[in-house]
Subunit: 353 residues, 2 copies
């Protein structure tokens, strides 16, 4: 396991990674399986390691990032690691005052609501996030053939946090600005798209073998609004990365009405939550669809027979897609028994593609 050369992500042989196989529609022995938020509060070893360290401090320490990212790979035997980080990390790196408050989420000191506020959003470069590059280099050395997934928050989801000043149930100010001040809206999302793209580029250059763009809250929008106000910006994150040679995953919750558009933004793999079955998602996206999902994270709190039935259903339906990456429909819930996650990995591995 030698340190990869700069641009190592481009040199990963897809034949070695189940994730790269699934993303390009090549057969493999079984679907690759990983879990959103697999590195996190469900693991006792994570809680121990994080004790006394604030989230954003942890996200800027290469050794902590590396160790936390590796924990679920060691414990569960998942087929991919995902970088331990947060979608606001690049925003903090360019100087925004954001805190991640336990039990609440990101809280923004100075919400963005006017064109003057745009000046806060300068471009990001690799020198702003040295801990990301350092952690990814260490990780790819440790992980060997297991791919590391880098990620970024999508422009809409980042904009919602910045405009609302924190998490929001209704995204009311965000939508009001989107519809009422479209010039400001597009200027804001333009800037966020540049930041997200550069954050992903830094991760790919350091060795990430895949990237996921999280547009967690895009499902609050209608298809028409998504297409007009969001898609162009998510596309400007993803499309320029097409030459990087790594699978691009595009994920949102409740985006069942526009999964095809999320693919059209420039993604090889489209995340599907639990609201529609995978075979229905494939019908909506088209026969070349590669999908990721779609186990309801809440079901991991139910008894094993319930989970087993759902996993079998999802793997079976995933066979209607050109490729399937087994995952949850959203992140692992903190109360999840890690033993159950391990059993799911074993089951998926036993089922075959």
């Amino acid at each position: 396991m030698s340190n990869p050369a700069p641009g190592g992500g481009k040199n990963v042989d897809p034949a070695l990674s189940l994730l790269a196989r699934a993303a390009t529609g090549k057969p493999g022995p079984h679907p690759p399986v990983w879990f959103m938020r697999q590195a996190g509060r469900s693991l006792p070893e994570y809680r121990t390691l994080r004790a006394g360290t604030a989230m954003l401090d942890a996200c800027r320490q290469p050794e902590l990032i590396t160790e936390i990212t590796l924990q679920p790979v060691r414990r569960h035997g998942v087929d991919a690691a995902i970088l331990f980080s947060d979608i606001v990390v690049p925003l903090v790196a360019i100087g925004l005052e954001i805190d991640i408050v336990p039990g609440v989420g990101p809280v923004v000191d100075q919400p963005i609501r006017s064109s003057a506020d745009l000046d806060l959003l300068r471009e990001l470069s690799a020198t702003d996030v040295p801990y990301i590059t350092d952690a990814i280099r260490a990780l790819t050395a440790e992980l060997g053939p297991t791919p590391l997934i880098g990620f970024a928050g999508a422009p809409f989801t980042l904009a919602s946090y910045l405009i609302e000043g924190g998490p929001s149930r209704d995204h009311a100010r965000t939508k009001a600005l989107m519809h009422g001040q479209p010039v400001l809206w597009h200027a804001l999302l333009n800037r966020l798209a540049v930041i997200a793209r550069e954050f992903l580029r830094v991760q790919i250059d350091a060795g990430a073998a895949a990237v996921q763009l999280f547009d967690s809250w895009a499902g609050a929008l209608s298809r028409a609004d998504y297409e007009r106000f969001v898609l162009p910006h998510s596309r400007s994150v993803l499309e320029p990365l097409s030459d990087a040679g790594v699978p691009r995953i595009h994920f949102g919750v409740g985006t069942n009405e526009f999964l095809d558009l999320m693919r059209a933004a420039g993604a090889e793999v489209v995340g599907v939550d639990w609201r529609i079955p995978l075979d229905e998602a494939v019908r909506r996206i088209g026969p070349a669809a590669v999908v990721q999902g779609n186990l309801d994270p809440a079901l991991l709190l139910a008894d094993w027979p319930v989970i087993e039935r759902e996993v079998r259903r999802i793997v079976a339906e995933g066979r209607t897609a050109a490729g399937h990456v087994f995952n949850l429909g959203h992140g692992v819930l903190p109360d999840t028994d890690p033993g159950v996650i391990g059993r799911v990995v074993e089951l998926v591995h036993s089922l075959g593609s």
Copy 2:
């Protein structure tokens, strides 16, 4: 405006109410318009009246209920009143310890998680909620031809509050119980259905001219889970009320994947949020569909030209339905300018059916 006889709801002449016309597919001069949460924090006169009175106390005082219910009718000229109440009122009336915490929502003292807890849920009768009967009698006398809409929370949404102990983003315990303990789940929802049905029956008997069943959080479910775990219980609320002769409205947020099932539960009118256009909702429900919605409440915070364009679109698309009740896709947001609501009413009234 005389007091209606007991059972007055059954004697309302549908010819007099735009709402009853729309619900039964009869033409009218324009779509009826009302707003979920039209009685509430967006109105300064509401905030004045509520000052110093806790929500659940206000919900048990007939004079306050009456006055708060009338406020938006007087101010906005809407085509229907909706009873000022809360979905947890019948649960509190049978003895559950629930508080409505400002900025949070209903908080349940003793969450329901075992079959022993079911004993907390006895049947409801009119004598448990005399303030509801008194308020509705006073209201129907005041309102004259303007219909009063009664309402109840649907079994799933009530169950989520009772199982989680309060509002929830992921409904994790609820889904775990639903899948993991189906016998307990169905027993719980059976009891909640009886309570919801009786609560609606009390309101109809007192003079409510329509009822709405709020399954606000059902959109957290897949269609398959909704059909199996929720639909039978919502049906057992709505179907027995078919002889009452009042329109039944069935509403949820993010339920775009199973609007047809919400109609099949026994509703004349199906609520549609903003995620799909009304004409698409009609395609999904069928040509006999009567729909209610679908203006995004967040858009009321945008400028008037944006709102006007959306209102015109929705009224135009509503013409593809057998009937259309103009409304929001969810409740009025507290920051909404009441002047804007009045302008929307005027615009809808000017557009014609």
